[in-house]
């Protein structure tokens, strides 16, 4: 069963960067009404780069595993590069093919993270 490969299940069972940041530079909540997935992402930024990303999520395995993988992948990334991340980058990152419905679960963390950063840049 491709979608529940061992590394996806590993990230689902033991999500990385699964916590809170004290005094985050930005914090954003994302919600997927279709499945009730909910994610809160917090970031610390220094010199235009992501210094720390932490998230807390409720949801399906796909949404949590993707958030975990993204949180590892995006550590240290410049905000400009983060803004450019797309659906294809996420699919490559998780390495599975997803139906349009499940794609929404997989993209929730990226969209939320990009919103957080956008807010930060607007505010700052």
């Amino acid at each position: 069963m491709d979608i529940y490969r061992e590394n996806i299940l590993d990230h689902y069972r033991n999500p990385r960067n699964n916590g809170n940041i004290n005094n985050p530079d930005a914090s954003e909540v994302g919600f997927n009404p279709l499945c009730g997935d909910r994610i809160k992402i917090q970031v610390k930024v220094e010199g235009g780069k992501l210094q720390d990303i932490q998230f807390k999520a409720q949801g399906c395995a796909v949404s949590i595993a993707t958030a975990s993988m993204l949180s590892e992948y995006a550590q240290g990334m410049s905000l400009d590069n983060l803004r450019k991340l797309s659906k294809d980058d996420i699919l490559e990152l998780v390495g599975i093919s997803l139906s349009p419905t499940r794609l929404k679960c997989a993209l929730l963390s990226l969209k939320t993270l990009q919103r957080a950063v956008k807010k930060l840049q607007k505010g700052g």
């Binding site: 069963m1 979608i3 529940y4 299940l9 279709l34 499945c35 009730g36 997935d37 409720q58 949801g59 399906c60 395995a61 796909v62 419905t101 499940r102 679960c105």
Partner: protein
């Protein structure tokens, strides 16, 4: 089984275990044939042409209306209005009778187990009018809290109530409830959502004594795009049209128009002729089995499913305990050994690997899921083409889910 072409197909060389009939039912060959015949042999418009194929289209269209009327125990076929689906039928009542009669501070009663289509129209109407929406809750066995209902309807102008819950499967005892309600409030207008009852249990709208009754064709083996609003003629005559256009007018002048009598008054534009004919064929098919037999078969299957599912570790099944109080709809959630919810989308996805088709989500009943305090459920539902083998396939698939996520 052989009557349903889709069940003869395979995906990934495996048969399809279709357990989502509450969303939409599969179509038997005779429904497809009836629609095909219309499109191939007499696809003319209705009520217009004086030529043979148009006369035939009109006759078949009206014959379908008569079959449906008889099927639900309507006194006359004029009380059967074709709509797109149950949602449109319910919106029709809210937009016509509702808009004309619900005033500021009036009370409208509905329940927590409604599908959004029998909840949101009343929520929006009461908000617009400054009226009050009362929502009746559940008892501990996931049935309607009858005492709360009977108290809520006392001063109410309208009650909007589902016959069968599309999540819990609860069969509301509509007939006895309405009898009690009419004694408490003789003026109340009662709208019943029959989308889940007409396909699965015998229904007689006169015996129920409701005022409006709505259902969809596609959940009862018919095509998508056709549904029915049944209403008592006295109300249908009072109500304004829902939409304006062709077919529904008598006379049009530059400054005014007059309208047809029901049902045409509510059927503006060319109707779904093939859909109505297809639904008529679905009624023939259900009649050939007999609705008592449909109910009996599904009750047995539901009982078996409840028994087998309840043996799985850490499963929570929502809905009345006894199969006799519920329809063939079983919503549930699985939890891992740490009591953490295995998300219904993951459950459905794993089941899909073996072509076991279930629904996961809130099933268009968000207030109910909030009330149950869950974000989503997995729902398996049964119809006449399902078998014990399908129940076994479901249970086997769920064991796989438990293996993967525990």
């Amino acid at each position: 089984m052989a009557d349903f072409p889709l069940l003869n197909t395979t995906i990934k060389d495996k048969r399809i275990v279709y357990l989502d009939s509450t969303a939409t039912a599969l179509k038997p060959q005779i429904v497809l044939d009836a629609m095909d015949r219309y499109y191939r042999e007499y696809s003319a418009n209705v009520f217009r042409g004086l030529y043979d194929i148009s006369e035939r289209a009109t006759a078949e269209f009206e014959k379908a209306r008569e079959k449906i009327a008889k099927f639900i125990g309507a006194a006359i076929s004029r009380e059967v209005i074709f709509a797109r689906n149950a949602s449109e039928a319910l919106n029709l009542v809210a937009s016509t009778w509702g808009k004309e009669n619900i005033k500021k501070n009036d009370v409208v009663v509905t329940t927590i187990m409604e599908h959004h289509s029998n909840f949101v129209p009343w929520q929006q109407l009461t908000a617009e009018k400054g009226a009050i929406l009362k929502v009746v809750g559940l008892d501990l066995d996931y049935k309607l809290d009858e005492a709360e209902l009977l108290s809520a309807v006392k001063e109410a102008k309208l009650l909007a109530l589902t016959h069968i819950s599309n999540v819990l499967g609860t069969i509301n005892p509509i007939r006895s409830l309405i009898k009690k309600i009419r004694k408490i409030n003789s003026d109340i207008v009662i709208v019943v959502d029959g989308a889940q009852s007409v396909p699965h249990i015998p229904v007689n709208v006169r015996a129920l004594d409701c005022d409006f009754f709505a259902f969809s064709g596609h959940k009862m083996l018919g095509p998508t795009g056709i549904g029915v609003l049944w209403g008592k003629l006295k109300y249908l005559k009072q109500m304004s049209p829902y939409m304006y256009g062709g077919e529904m007018i008598k006379q049009v002048y530059l400054t005014k128009s007059t309208f047809q009598e029901p049902p045409l008054k509510f059927e503006a534009g060319t109707p779904d002729i093939a859909g109505a004919i297809g639904l008529g064929a679905a009624v023939d098919y259900l009649n050939s089995i007999g609705m008592d037999n449909v109910r009996k078969y599904e009750e047995e299957l539901t009982e078996l499913a409840l028994l087998k599912l309840s043996k799985l570790p850490n499963i929570k099944i929502y809905g009345p305990k006894k199969a006799s109080s519920r329809c063939g709809v079983v919503a549930f959630n699985l939890f891992n050994k740490d009591k953490v919810l295995i998300h219904p989308h993951d459950v459905a996805q794993v089941l899909n690997e073996d072509n076991v088709c279930v629904r996961s989500g809130h099933h268009c009943a968000m207030p109910l899921h909030d009330n149950l305090n869950v974000v989503a459920t997995t729902r398996a539902s049964f119809y006449i083409y399902n078998t014990k083998r399908d129940v076994d396939a479901l249970v086997l698939g769920l064991k796989k889910v438990i293996d993967i996520f525990s």
